[in-house]
């Protein structure tokens, strides 16, 4: 990490810590939702962008994480933090299972298989309403009994940082190298001695576990968990967030998710036109700024910071 | 070069082609070739030196960064590949370009795509092609993908002949084809030249290519190393070429 990076990171950290005191409770809520999406989108990016498995069923693991925590808390009175942990484990295990199941698939077959998995799960949640609350929703108890969203904010901030930094460390390690090798060419990777099966499953398990974490937080924060969590619309939104941020950088994806969430909320005043505009924006972004909007923007900021920094150094040297 | 022009005006000529697949990575650094009627011109050189890329650029699959391609007085630089047939140019890529899930007959019919509105003419031409390649007639209802490599090559030639082109760009016509059939294919190519076609042949099979070549280009790392008439190279040209190339691909003297 170079000096301007550190500087920018510190600046961001400060901004994040102070954020609740800069905005009202509504934008704080939007920010929290944005950060939940950021975790989901970043974990999807790990799987699709880095490990090359374009899943269209990633939100299923958000649902698994959320419903595991929720059902344990509601039916068996398991404490929420424990339930959330169970949710992560369940999501990771089922994710590994799905990863193992679709080892031989790629491209559109993989995308549609995972979409089908997610739909089957959603329909099951809808139909088995005795356990899941069905479409009417599962009322999940609160995690904090405070009257503001502050504790939720700092908790999700911590979870976001831990999960994203964790995933970045994984990607920077040998494992990340293997993920990319498999993405580029599975046969070649296998020939070079990469254990393709193991690492494909591993990528699925990590990404799913992180998605499960997001679900486990989402459930008590919103207070009601409905099967829509696993809908295709949600999946599309997550993918859009990742693409806007630029799939290949996790911090970019985080920024993309938060930016899209703020945009969707800002469009609220347009009522019926809101989703029309959202669709249009998505189309225009994809059509004319395919590499994402934020990663290039981030690069520009960084360049500017480096320039400023150099000027500063030169100034003091004079 | 002067010698090359004696047999007539080139059907296709390229000057100083520069090209690459990715921005900043050049594969051809300024290559000039001429293709003349009644001649087989062979492009030889080690693997990865840009021979196939040269053909792709000539046929319009890859737009050159600089340089010019002309057919007579017509400038072809930047023309799309599907327009090349209209200029009488045919390209036979390394992997046979037949449609594997379509029947032999339909493959031929698509070869006459440019004439699609003239049903009678197309039928007549296909019949003529079957007469010329009776082996294909026997298998006309079979999927092209089920044919042997040699037969697929035959199908390609038969298909290309439907439109009576004057320039052939051929990339390794005998790769992974058994030697007996390979000989037939080289004979076929030589026959085309004798009918007046201009042929540019890229090949790793140096012996095969030199057997029919009238003129030789030798490429190394994206540019022409040397060129000249086949006859100018004398009898032990194979040895000579393999020495230039320093590759293990040089054929063993049989």
């Amino acid at each position: 990490m170079r000096a301007p990076d550190i500087l920018l990171s510190l600046l961001l950290a400060g901004l994040a810590a102070a954020f609740p005191f800069l905005v009202n409770a509504y934008w704080l809520h939007v920010m929290i939702i944005g950060m939940i999406y950021a975790i989901i989108a970043a974990s999807w990016s790990l799987l699709a962008g880095f490990a090359g498995q374009f899943s269209f069923g990633h939100v299923a693991f958000v649902a698994i994480g959320g419903y595991t925590a929720g059902i344990l808390a509601v039916s068996l009175h398991v404490p929420l933090p424990l339930g959330m942990l169970a949710g992560i484990v369940a999501a990771a295990l089922i994710g590994a299972g799905v990863g193992w199941t679709c080892l031989r698939m790629s491209g559109p077959y993989l995308a549609i298989f995972t979409m089908a998995f997610s739909e089957v799960l959603r329909i099951t949640i809808v139909t088995e309403n005795e356990i899941t609350g069905g479409p009417g929703g599962l009322n999940v108890p609160q995690l904090f009994h405070a009257q503001t969203d502050l504790p939720y904010y700092y908790l999700i901030l911590a979870l976001l940082v831990v999960s994203v930094v964790g995933m970045m460390l994984v990607l920077a390690s040998r494992w990340g190298l293997f993920f990319r090798a498999i993405r580029e060419n599975e046969q070649a990777a296998a020939a070079a001695g990469v254990k393709v099966t193991r690492f494909r499953i591993l990528a699925c398990a990590i990404a799913s576990g992180v998605a499960g974490l997001a679900g486990g937080f989402y459930a008590p924060y919103i207070g009601i968990l409905t099967p829509d969590v696993a809908s295709q619309d949600q999946m599309g939104l997550v993918v859009a967030m990742a693409i806007v941020g630029g799939v290949e950088t996790l911090p970019g994806v985080v920024a993309g998710a938060i930016a899209v969430e703020f945009m969707v909320e800002a469009l609220r005043s347009y009522g019926q036109w809101r989703l029309v505009l959202f669709g249009l924006l998505l189309l225009l972004t994809m059509r004319f700024a395919r590499n994402g909007l934020l990663a290039p923007g981030w690069l520009a900021i960084r360049r500017l910071a480096v320039l400023q920094g150099q000027r500063l150094i030169r100034g003091t040297a004079d | 070069m002067a010698a090359a022009h004696q047999s007539g005006a080139p059907s296709l000529s390229a000057r100083d082609l520069v090209a690459g697949y990715l921005p900043g990575i050049e594969i051809l650094h300024g290559v000039s070739v001429d293709v003349l009627p009644y001649e087989v011109r062979a492009v030889l050189g080690p693997n990865g030196t840009g021979k196939s890329t040269l053909l792709k650029v000539l046929y319009g699959f890859l737009k050159p960064g600089a340089g010019e391609i002309k057919s007579g007085s017509r400038v072809l630089t930047g023309a799309a590949p599907h327009e090349m047939g209209g200029y009488g140019i045919v390209y036979l890529p390394q992997r046979p370009s037949v449609f594997p899930f379509l029947s032999v007959e339909v493959n031929l019919r698509l070869g006459a795509w440019r004439l699609r509105s003239r049903h009678g003419l197309v039928r007549e031409k296909i019949e003529r092609a079957f007469a010329q390649f009776p082996a294909l007639y026997e298998k006309r209802h079979q999927s092209a993908g089920t044919l042997s490599g040699g037969q697929q090559r035959q199908l390609e030639f038969a298909r290309s002949l439907l439109l009576d082109p004057n320039v052939y760009l051929i990339d390794e016509p005998t790769a992974s084809i058994e030697p007996r059939i390979a000989t037939q294919i080289y004979e076929l190519i030589q026959g085309l030249a004798q009918q007046g076609k201009a042929i540019l042949l890229v090949d790793q099979n140096i012996k095969g290519a030199l057997g029919i070549a009238d003129y030789v280009y030798v490429m190394r790392t994206g540019s022409l190393y040397t060129e000249g008439k086949r006859a100018e190279f004398g009898e032990d040209v194979e040895l000579l070429v393999s020495q230039w190339l320093y590759t293990h691909h040089a054929p063993k003297p049989s």
């Binding site: 800069l22 009202n24 409770a25 479409p135 969590v229 | -």
Partner: protein
Amino acid sequence: MTGEHTKRGSSGINGKRALPRRDVLALASAGAAATLPVFGRPARAAEPVKLGWVGPLSPPGGYAEGLLMKYASAMAADDINKQGGVLGRPIEILYQDTRGMAAEGTAAAERLCVQDKVAAIFGEFHSSVALAEMEVVHKYNVPFLACDVWSQEVTAKGYPQVFRNSITFPLLDVMIGDWIVAAGFKNAALLCEQDDIGLAWRKGVADVLTAHKTPFQLYTADPQATDFTAQVLRLKANNPPFDLFLVLYGEAGAYPMTRESHSLGFAPTANTALFVSGGEAVDPTFWKNVGKAGLWLICENVGLPKSAWNDKTKAFVAAFNAKYKTDPPGSAMEAYDAVWNLAEAIKNSGSTAPEAIIHGLETLHWVGTRGLYTYSTSKDPAWAYHQYMDAPESILQYNAQDQSSFDAPIVWPKKYATVPYLYKKPTA
């Protein structure tokens, strides 16, 4: 209840001093600067009374009903403003699409409460979304007048901010159940969409039928389903045969279902009656979609029956018809009256403060398009709390094709009935 102070306080910390910064940050992060209302301006003389409407305007929610409710709300605001508004201030309604999704409802309510600082929220169509929104209004202490949400949970939670001016399942189910027993049906099939509305409806009706010892069979189907051939054939082949087919489905499903059920000779026939619940059979394009299959169809109506119309009902129906070329369903009347209810409550207590509005609603005594509005303060049973107990409901049965729901004979309850019979068997 104590929460409101903390919460309001926390946004107050940022006070006026932080405003410009807050604006810039919110605007920048939103990336759509022009769309954001500027907040924190000093109050002008006739600053409008802001009310927030929530409800579905896009899929997967019930966007068709949502839109009619939105139309009716806008008409109410116009009418009130033409009369000089409330407390000398005009009414302004901010509309929020919830898409029928709980999380969207939460965000919508957060925005209305915190960002737009509305005096009260009304509307909604999906119970699950209303339940999520209630948590927000409870947190910020903003009055919430729920319109077309029928789950008893909404009022049973006992939140002082939450009122409801529509019927609720305990009322509706009892009415339907009583009618089924009175009309002498012996074996009912209940088919509903697999969502919050369908399941709550099904449970309620099933409970009543069980209590009356009337045999019945339950079926549920995907809310997006439009092909019911297999299902209807199965029902038709049932032994013993069903003499009553009760359906609850959104428009896109209810209409093909009605046509299919008729065309396959299941219901409405001399053997089996068809009851379509949920308001689809009184919606504007009902007859265009079902044609002759709608003849003899039975449904409930949550508006005031025509026989009991007052001047306001007549005026509203006429105005709605003139403007939107269709009859307003009961849900539209609920939305229209909801705005008036809130305006009256504000007027009577002379303030837009939450406590004043809540008090105003609790003591409301006002005649609207759906009769005399009063909100119960009794918690026995729990769902009665802040419920409009006299919410009108009736059962009608069409006896002519293309009949307006207003002109259809009312068969139940007896106090509204316009015909002597409880059920007319279709003639062959």
